[in-house]
C-alpha cells in the first residue's frame, strides 16, 4: 500500500513560493492501476518522483508498504527503491552504450545476485516485455517502441511490486502504444501496483483502471 499524507513540494524563488504539489493526500492499495491525469506542469511527474523516493517533500509523509521512505538514509532508500519500485520514464533513460540485456541487468547489480540468477531474471523480463529478440542489440540502435519495451523489462527485473510510468506513450506510435497497453494489462494481472502519469486519452477507456487522480496546479481535484 502507498500512503501520501499532507504532501507539499514547493520551490522558493526570489519573488514567491511556487507549489509543485500542495496538500496531497492519497492512498493506493496493492494491485491497483492508478491513472494520474493532468496537463503538462500540473505536478504529475513530481508526484511520481516523490513516490519513487528520488526527491523529498518539503513537508508530509510518503509511506510505502508501511515504511516511511523519506526518513530512510540513502543506503536503505536506494535498496528500497531497487527492490520495490520499477520506473518507466518518458524518455526511456537507457544506458545507450550497453546492450538491451545489460540495460535490463543493471538494477540487479546492487542486489548482489549470482550471474546465473541475473541471467534467469533478465531472460524472464525480456520475455514478458516481448524484447528477447533484441537482447544483444545496443540500446542506441533501437526504435522508440523497442526502447520502451526494454525500459519495461528493466522495471520488471527486480520483481518490483510497484511500477511507475511517466508519460509512457508520449513518444510512441499507435501500434507501439497498443503493445504497451497489452503489457501493462499483463502486469496488472500479475498483481503489480501500477501508477501511470499521462495526459494521453488512450488510457481513459481502459476497463482495468481502478482509480483516476486528476491533478490541477499541484492539487488533487475533487
Amino acid at each position: 500500500m502507498i500512503e501520501l499524507i499532507e504532501l507539499n513540494r514547493y520551490y522558493d524563488t526570489q519573488r514567491e513560493r511556487f507549489y509543485a504539489l500542495k496538500d496531497i493526500n492519497l492512498t493506493i492499495n496493492r494491485g491497483e492501476f492508478v491513472l494520474l491525469n493532468g496537463v503538462s506542469g500540473s505536478g504529475k511527474t513530481t508526484l511520481l518522483t516523490l513516490i519513487a523516493g528520488m526527491d523529498k517533500p518539503n513537508s508530509g509523509i510518503v509511506i510505502i508498504e508501511g515504511e516511511p521512505i523519506i526518513k530512510l538514509p540513502d543506503q536503505h532508500l536506494s535498496k528500497f527503491r531497487n527492490q520495490h519500485i520499477g520506473i518507466i520514464f518518458q524518455h526511456y533513460n537507457l544506458l545507450e552504450n550497453l546492450s538491451v540485456y545489460d540495460n535490463v541487468a543493471t538494477p540487479l547489480i546492487p542486489m548482489r545476485l549470482s550471474l546465473k540468477e541475473i541471467d534467469k531474471r533478465v531472460k524472464e523480463s525480456l520475455e514478458i516485455a516481448n524484447i528477447s529478440h533484441k537482447a544483444s542489440s545496443l540500446a542506441s540502435s533501437l526504435s522508440g517502441g523497442e526502447k520502451q519495451r526494454t525500459a519495461i523489462a528493466r522495471a520488471l527485473v527486480t520483481k518490483a511490486s510497484i511500477i511507475l510510468c511517466d508519460e509512457p506513450t508520449a513518444n510512441l506510435d499507435k501500434a507501439n502504444r497498443e503493445i504497451f497497453l497489452k503489457i501493462l494489462e499483463r502486469l496488472h494481472k500479475l498483481n503489480k501496483t501500477i501508477i501511470v502519469s499521462t495526459h494521453d486519452p488512450i488510457f481513459n477507456d481502459l476497463d482495468y483502471i481502478t482509480k483516476i487522480v486528476h491533478i490541477v496546479d499541484g492539487k488533487i481535484a475533487k
Binding site: 540513502d74 544506458l95 540487479l108 527486480t158
Partner: protein, 396 residues
C-alpha cells in the same frame, strides 16, 4: 567476457568501461603522456642521485682545502704532517687539480693530477680503467686520460689525439690522449683530464712543495665531527668538507639545475587542468546522465562511487603500466634525449651520460601516488556531487 568474469559488478564495470572506448582511449592516452613524463623525470633524477652516490663512494671521506678571502689557495705539503698527528687519521694523500680554461672557446676542463705511488689514487683509477692500461699510462709521462665530453670536444674540433696546454709560465705541454673514461662515469667525469701529478702542477701553476688539497679517510662515521673540529683548529683558513656534504651539494645542484621541481610542478599543473577540462567538458553531461539513471534504478551513492572509483582505477593502472614502461625505455635504453638537457644542459661541454637503471618501490609508489590521487579525486568529487542530487535532475 561474460563467461570469464564471475562477479556481476566486475562484469558490469568492464562492460561499461570498454563500451565507452573513445572516452577511455582519450583519457588513457593523456594519462600515459603524463605518467611517461613524470616517470622519466623521476627515473633521471634517481639515476643521477645514484650515480653521484656511487661516484662519491670511491672518493675519500674528507677533503681539506685552504681558503683565503673566500678563495681557494694552494696549500703547503707540510700540512699533511700535522694532519697525520690527529688520531683516527692514518693516511693523508695530497692532490693537485684545478680548472684549465680555453678562453677563446669558452670551455674549461678539470685537470686532475694523480700520484703513481699513491695507493689510494691508484685504486680509485683502477675502478675506471683496467690495471694493465693504467701501468702503461704511468710509464709514459706525456699521456692523459680524458672524459667522454673532452673526447667528443676534441673530435669535433679536429684535435686528433693530442691537446696542447699552456702553463702560467708561458710554456706549452702537449699531451696524448691515452684512454677515455667509461660512459658510466660520464656524469662526474665528462670534462675530466687525468694526468701525472707533476704534469698537473705545471699546467695549473702549482709550486713543487704545494698541493691544491689533501684527502683522507676516517672509517668510523661517529668520529667525523671531532675530526672536523680538530682539523679546523690547526688553521682557521682550512676548509673541511666531508663526503656527506659533497653529496648534498651535488644533489642540490642537480635538483635545482635540473629543474626537477619545476618539471614536477608543470606536470601536476598540466594534469590538473586537463583532467578538470575532461571532467567538465561534454563528457561530463553523459556521465551525469548515467549516474542519474543508476541512482533512479536503485544504485546507492556508495554503489555509484564504487563503480566510478574502480573505473578510474582501471584508467590509472593501464596508464601507469604503459607510462612507466615507456619512461623506463626512454630513460634507460635511449638515455632520455631532449629531457636530459633539463638536468645536464648547463655543463660547459656536452656530456653523454648513461643513466644507471634505478627502480625502487618508493620511486614507483611516488609516481603512482602523484598521478593516481589527484586523478581519482578529480573523478570522484564530481561523481559524488551528482550522485547526491535528485536523480531526475541528473538525468536531464
Amino acid at each position: 567476457m561474460e563467461k570469464s568474469v564471475s562477479s556481476p559488478f566486475i562484469r558490469f564495470l568492464l562492460l561499461n568501461f570498454f563500451s565507452e572506448k573513445s572516452k577511455q582511449v582519450t583519457v588513457i592516452l593523456f594519462s600515459i603522456i603524463i605518467i611517461f613524463i613524470l616517470s622519466s623525470v623521476l627515473f633521471i633524477s634517481s639515476s643521477i642521485h645514484h650515480s653521484i652516490k656511487e661516484a662519491l663512494q670511491a672518493q675519500p671521506d674528507f677533503v681539506i682545502q685552504k681558503m683565503r678571502g673566500d678563495k681557494q689557495i694552494d696549500i703547503s705539503e707540510r700540512v699533511s704532517d700535522e694532519l697525520i698527528e690527529i688520531p683516527s687519521i692514518s693516511k693523508v694523500t695530497p692532490r693537485v687539480y684545478g680548472r684549465y680554461f680555453i678562453k677563446p672557446l669558452g670551455k674549461s676542463f678539470l685537470v686532475v693530477g694523480v700520484d703513481f705511488f699513491d695507493v689510494q689514487s691508484h685504486r680509485a683509477l683502477e675502478k675506471l680503467i683496467d690495471s694493465t692500461n693504467l701501468n702503461n699510462f704511468f710509464k709514459m709521462r706525456d699521456n692523459m686520460i680524458i672524459g667522454r665530453g673532452v673526447k667528443r670536444w676534441m673530435d669535433a674540433n679536429h684535435y686528433d689525439n693530442n691537446l696542447t696546454f699552456f702553463t702560467p709560465k708561458g710554456k706549452s705541454i702537449t699531451l696524448k690522449a691515452f684512454s677515455t673514461l667509461p660512459k658510466e662515469s660520464a656524469l662526474v667525469s665528462a670534462d675530466m683530464i687525468i694526468v701525472p701529478i707533476d704534469t698537473a702542477r705545471k699546467i695549473l701553476g702549482v709550486s713543487k712543495r704545494k698541493v691544491t688539497d689533501f684527502v683522507f679517510n676516517v672509517p668510523n662515521v661517529l668520529e667525523w665531527e671531532i675530526v672536523t673540529i680538530k682539523v679546523s683548529a690547526l688553521d682557521y683558513d682550512l676548509r673541511v668538507i666531508n663526503k656527506k656534504e659533497s653529496y648534498k651539494a651535488y644533489s642540490e645542484y642537480f635538483d635545482f639545475k635540473g629543474g626537477f621541481f619545476l618539471s614536477m610542478f608543470l606536470i601536476v599543473l598540466v594534469s590538473f587542468s586537463l583532467i578538470l577540462y575532461q571532467r567538465y567538458s561534454q563528457l561530463y553531461s553523459i556521465e551525469r546522465r548515467q549516474i542519474g539513471i543508476l541512482r533512479a534504478l536503485g544504485w546507492s551513492i556508495r554503489d555509484t562511487l564504487k563503480l566510478k572509483f574502480f573505473e578510474a582505477l582501471l584508467v590509472v593502472f593501464i596508464s601507469y603500466a604503459i607510462g612507466v614502461l615507456l619512461g623506463y625505455i626512454f630513460v634507460y635504453i635511449f638515455d632520455a634525449p631532449i629531457l636530459k638537457n633539463i638536468f645536464l644542459g648547463s655543463f660547459n661541454i656536452e656530456i653523454e651520460p648513461t643513466f644507471t637503471p634505478v627502480v625502487d618501490i618508493f620511486l614507483l609508489s611516488s609516481i603512482f601516488l602523484l598521478y593516481a590521487l589527484p586523478f581519482i579525486a578529480s573523478v570522484l568529487i564530481p561523481v559524488w556531487k551528482i550522485a547526491t542530487t535528485n536523480p531526475k535532475e541528473a538525468m536531464v
